[in-house]
């Protein structure tokens, strides 16, 4: 009985989010393909740049706060903390990557 409900919920989730699941799979393949061509010399900047992109989670934090009730201070505080953390990751990540790559400028 319990198991049936779970399976049904799972099927429902799968069916409703089919496009997302497609996107998930194609992005994994794309990610592997794009990145496996990066030469060793750029691994550290790449890691740093990719790290900045993972700060995209900040979008979730913005949505959380925007959807919260104006007097739900717990959610608002948690969301604000999430935004601060995410923003450090995004801004710091891109800035530090740029600093590294600035040094790869063409010489002569």
């Amino acid at each position: 009985m319990l198991n049936n409900t779970i399976m049904e919920q799972f099927f429902e989730f799968f069916n409703e989010n089919l496009i997302l699941i497609y996107l998930l799979i194609f992005t994994i393949v794309l990610g592997f393909e794009v990145i496996s061509k990066v030469p060793t010399v750029l691994h550290t900047p790449l890691m740093s740049g990719a790290n900045a992109i993972s700060g995209v989670v900040i979008i979730g934090a913005i949505l959380l706060i925007r959807q919260a009730a104006a007097d739900d201070y717990l959610t608002l505080s948690l969301g604000a903390v999430a935004i601060i953390l995410g923003m450090i990751n995004v801004v710091g990540g891109f800035a530090v990557t740029d600093r590294m790559l600035e040094m790869f400028k063409k010489k002569k």
Binding site: F32, L63, I83, F94
Partner: protein, 464 residues
């Protein structure tokens, strides 16, 4: 309607900029543009999220903009201030904060669900729990990796006896609680689950040797990506999904590449212990003596050679000797000596770290040879100068099956005519393994601080 179109288009542009940015990052010429490209895409996506129409939302812009301002300023200042040698630590800490952000989000969503404020399907609850778990590991794991790289924590102080067994029990316990929470709602247990995930992240990194931190940071980077992607599934946000998965994929590839460079399996790295205590290997016979050379002789040898290969290691970076190294290089080049740099894939603390440090000292890009190019060139090299590198030039990796690094690809510096090792003392390297190279017949030691020795070499060469 038209407004929604603009929002959706912005997200599409954002997703494209991430993919294209990473693509541009794959070539030194376009890498900087790639980073800026991805950054602009992120900016567009954030603005779109701020202005997109939401039904019945309070918006609470003051909270959002306040948080963004604080986080932005902290991020910018730390990125400006960090030393190039501390880059791996910085990446680690930024990565940890991204993981923490995902944890806070997942916890807030679960809390609202348990409190009856939000509806969540069972699938969404499962994804939120996954986000909590993986984000938690990324957060505390990255913090410990940072502490280890910064030298704040030593491996032995955070490792318990039978640590791997304890880890396994902790993992099984945490996952079981996760399955229970998937089926039963409880805010208290969700908080316990979060705490266990955080503890596991710490415990997971604890036994891993300091020399393996780059591999771990890369792995944790992919965890953060996965947690961002999972959070994207909760919000049904495609851009978070694309960005997170791209990072997950890049972290995974990079982890595998780094393990390959050391000829070890990921499992072997994670079990830890590499380069710990004794690190086996056939010990060196006590009566072996390394030959030493003085600055004057070394300078003459370098000055009158045809070709010189410099092998930089992390010691060069620690001594901040990149610029002096470049000065020696310039002096030799002026006398017609062909100077090249041999860069082992794991030189420094991360793949490519050494390239960044040398680029900072204005060493032209074509002078840097990778492992294969360097090994080919070493056969016709007159003098090899090893500055602060150790394990990557250890012949045990080739000829001593009992050595812990046996099988790791190394720079075959002994193929060159002579070797000069710049080293402070005879102490073993970062991984704690003895290096028979120091006793090799072709080798001479130039004892002293790397920067100091290089500047003495430079002034000696000037007098020739």
């Amino acid at each position: 309607m038209g407004f929604s179109f603009i929002i959706n288009l912005s997200y599409l542009v954002g997703a494209f900029s991430f993919v294209w940015g990473l693509r541009l990052l794959s070539s030194p010429d376009s890498a900087r543009r790639g980073n800026i490209f991805a950054g602009i895409g992120m900016g567009i996506a954030i603005v779109a999220t701020l202005i997109m129409p939401l039904v019945d939302s309070a918006n609470n812009y003051a909270w959002i903009l306040g948080g963004m301002a604080i986080g932005g300023i902290i991020g910018l200042i730390s990125a400006r201030r960090v030393q190039m040698t501390s880059m791996p630590q910085m990446v680690s800490i930024f990565n940890g904060l991204g993981g923490a952000c995902a944890v806070v989000l997942a916890m807030a969503e679960l809390n609202n669900y348990y409190a009856g404020i939000n509806e969540m399907s069972l699938g969404a609850v499962g994804i939120a729990l996954f986000t909590l778990f993986i984000g938690g590991i990324a957060f505390t794991g990255s913090l410990l990796a940072f502490a280890k790289l910064e030298g704040l924590v030593w491996d032995s102080t955070v490792t318990l006896p039978k640590h791997n067994i304890i880890n396994m029990i902790l993992l099984v316990g945490t996952l079981s609680l996760g399955v229970y929470l998937f089926l039963n709602d409880s805010l208290t247990l969700a908080l316990v689950f979060m705490a266990l995930s955080l503890v596991y992240g710490f415990s997971f990194v604890a036994p891993i040797g300091g020399a393996d931190m780059p591999v771990v940071i890369s792995l944790l980077n992919s965890f953060t990506g996965l947690s961002a992607a999972a959070a994207g599934l909760i919000y049904g946000n495609n851009l978070m999904l694309v960005g997170g998965i791209l990072v997950g994929a890049s972290g995974t590839i990079l982890t595998v590449l780094m393990c390959n460079a050391m000829n070890r399996s990921l499992f072997n790295v994670l079990i830890g212990g590499f380069g710990g205590a004794a690190a086996g290997g056939k010990g060196l016979d006590g009566d072996q003596v390394a030959k030493s050379v003085n600055v004057n002789d070394a300078a003459i040898q370098l000055f009158y050679s045809q070709s010189v290969m410099i092998v930089p290691g992390y010691g060069l970076a620690v001594a901040q000797a990149q610029k002096v190294c470049k000065e020696v290089d310039d002096l030799l080049e002026a006398n017609g000596v062909d100077v090249k740099y041999a860069i082992h894939p794991v030189a420094g603390r991360m793949p490519g770290h050494m390239n960044v440090l040398l680029a900072e000292a204005d060493v032209p890009y074509p002078k840097l040879l990778d492992l294969e190019e360097a090994n080919a060139a070493l056969k016709s090299t007159d003098v090899v100068v090893i500055v602060g590198a150790n394990d990557v030039v250890n012949p045990s990796a080739e000829d001593d099956p009992s050595s812990p690094i046996y099988g790791m690809p190394v720079l075959k510096v002994w193929d060159a005519k002579t070797i000069i090792v710049l080293k402070r003392s005879m102490r073993p390297g970062y991984a704690g393994i003895q290096n028979p190279l120091f006793f090799h017949e072709k080798n001479k030691m130039l004892f002293g601080d790397a920067k100091d020795s290089l500047s003495k070499l430079a002034s000696e060469i000037k007098t020739l």
